[in-house]
């Protein structure tokens, strides 16, 4: 069914179709609309979800953890500082192996306080043990949210899933979107039937017990193995999803990479702009391409290395500052992934788009121009730089 929805509406609609048992609710821009739309579905009796309003995001995630442990399928939505306030509980959800689904609408972290888009919120939570899937547009935001359930809930995985979309750019822009029939979605996600749960009276269960040092590490290895197993499960679910939607998703998306000499690695809505730049450059004979990372956790290191193997120069575009003084998080992962290649491309890192700073087709063209210069001269300095900020100096 064709429709026109904003990213937030699309996720709220997916939630309605899935009809989860519990939603933990606390508002924060730009994700507020998701529970707002969903509240209407609850009020209209279109879902029978328990709508639990709480006093903070720490509590909304706590609600989800308790409900999921009890055996209820739980969802949540948040952004920015809300996600930051959840951090403690994000780790608890992941380590208790509770497959909660969270819609993260990416927004800059304070401070200075800013409500616009970058990826510093979810990138800060990248090591919390959650699966992270990023959307380029509304369609992907909807599709990723639907796929999240059969991914996270599978017994081999049992991990919470964070589906991310860019605040305002995706969450508030209305785009054409193809929605699945509710029956099809419900059949696809199925019922949540965990083997053990707190309300299973035949079999008492303790969740999240204290771990002494002779057990903690083993449980962390179990968790790490689940994250490794998630990779295959994500692809399996994507394959099933293609059957009901006709839309094919991988861990990453390669755009015009078949013979690309120069490539960008990026995440989220900027991929759309970058694709337009690639098309323009390709028309002019430049062998440009992009690799859009869809799944950041688990990180598709081998797949990324394979995609970039034939290139001459690559710019990794990070929409968050890691303050490592050595480049952003996507750069760190990408550089590590490429280490095992026999012949490696030149690699630079550009931090862009912080706090909603716009990026245009021409900006991406400049990046490709720089990559061409690097390939010609071998001069990569500065390896790590920023783009789009007002400056007295310009990097050529």
């Amino acid at each position: 069914m064709m429709s026109r929805l904003s990213g937030n509406e699309a996720v709220a609609y997916a939630m309605k179709q899935i009809n989860p048992d519990v939603i933990g609710v606390f508002p924060i821009t730009p994700s507020t609309e998701i529970p707002e739309y969903f509240a209407q579905y609850v009020a209209n009796g279109e879902v029978n979800t328990e709508f639990v309003t709480v006093e903070s995001e720490h509590s909304s995630m706590s609600v989800c953890i308790a409900a999921q442990a009890a055996g209820a399928r739980s969802v949540c939505a948040t952004s920015s500082c809300g996600l930051a306030l959840m951090y403690e509980m994000l780790y608890v959800a992941a380590s208790c192996r509770l497959p909660i689904t969270l819609a993260c609408v990416n927004r800059a972290l304070s401070g200075p306080i800013n409500i616009n888009n970058d990826h510093s919120d979810s990138m800060g939570a990248r090591d919390s043990g959650w699966i992270q899937i990023y959307a380029e547009n509304n369609q992907e935001a909807y599709d990723n949210f639907v796929m999240a359930f059969p991914i996270g809930e599978h017994p081999c995985v049992r991990l919470p899933v964070m589906t991310c979309m860019d605040g305002f750019i995706t969450s508030h822009s209305v785009e054409n979107i193809e929605l699945l029939d509710t029956d099809v979605v419900r059949k696809f996600v199925g019922e949540y039937n965990p083997e053990n749960y707190l309300l299973k009276k035949e079999n008492p269960l303790a969740v999240g017990p204290y771990d002494v040092s002779s057990y903690y590490m083993e449980h962390k290895v179990l968790q790490a193995e689940a994250m490794k197993a998630a990779k295959a499960r994500i692809l399996e679910v994507a394959e099933e999803f293609a059957k009901i939607s006709g839309r094919h998703y991988g861990l990453l998306e390669e755009y015009r990479m078949e013979d690309a000499e120069f490539a960008l690695v990026l995440i989220g809505s900027s991929a759309g702009t970058a694709k337009a730049a690639v098309d323009k450059l390709r028309a002019g004979g430049v062998k440009a391409g992009i690799v859009k990372i869809r799944v950041f956790r688990p990180f598709p290191g081998e797949e990324l290395a394979k995609a970039l193997a034939g290139t001459k120069a690559v710019a990794v575009m990070d929409k968050s500052e890691g303050f490592s003084a050595n480049g952003g998080p996507i750069f760190a992962e990408t550089r590590s992934a490429l280490y095992d290649l026999q012949v490696r491309p030149y690699l630079i890192n550009i931090i862009y788009g912080l706090g909603g700073r716009d990026i245009k087709i021409e900006d991406f063209e400049k990046v490709f121009q720089r990559l061409a210069n690097i390939a010609m001269t071998g001069e990569v300095q500065p390896v790590y730089s920023h783009m789009g900020e007002r400056s007295k100096e310009e990097i050529v």
Binding site: R97, R158, P204, A206, G208, P209, Y215, E218, H219, L222
Partner: protein, 102 residues
């Protein structure tokens, strides 16, 4: 199903439960927390009148009772706090230094 009795500090990660979940009740009974003890109560049965004051005062459940009589300490769970010695109206409990009753 993985049972708590089958798990110990030598169990490889492959045989542990996800998230450390425990699928039974009351498994703390099988877990030795008495190793934390730095002082140890000693029970002198001949002095004990079985008034049972020590039993509810024990913050753990380290004083077993059977047929109206208290038995010797459950050292697997006693933390050596000394409350029992303090509350005992008779010289039936004395504390000794160290984790082992001498």
């Amino acid at each position: 199903m993985i049972y708590a009795k089958d798990i110990n500090e030598h169990t490889p990660w492959q045989d542990l439960t996800p998230g450390g979940e425990i699928y039974e009740a009351g498994t703390a009974r099988a877990f030795n927390t008495g190793a934390w003890r730095t002082n140890t109560p000693v029970f002198h049965e001949e002095e004990c009148k079985h008034c049972m004051l020590c039993v509810p005062f024990c913050p753990d459940s380290a004083i077993p009772v059977k047929d109206g009589k208290r038995l010797d300490f459950d050292y697997m769970h006693c933390k050596g706090c000394g409350i029992c010695e303090n509350i005992c109206p008779f010289p039936a409990i004395t504390m000794v230094t160290g984790g082992v009753a001498k």
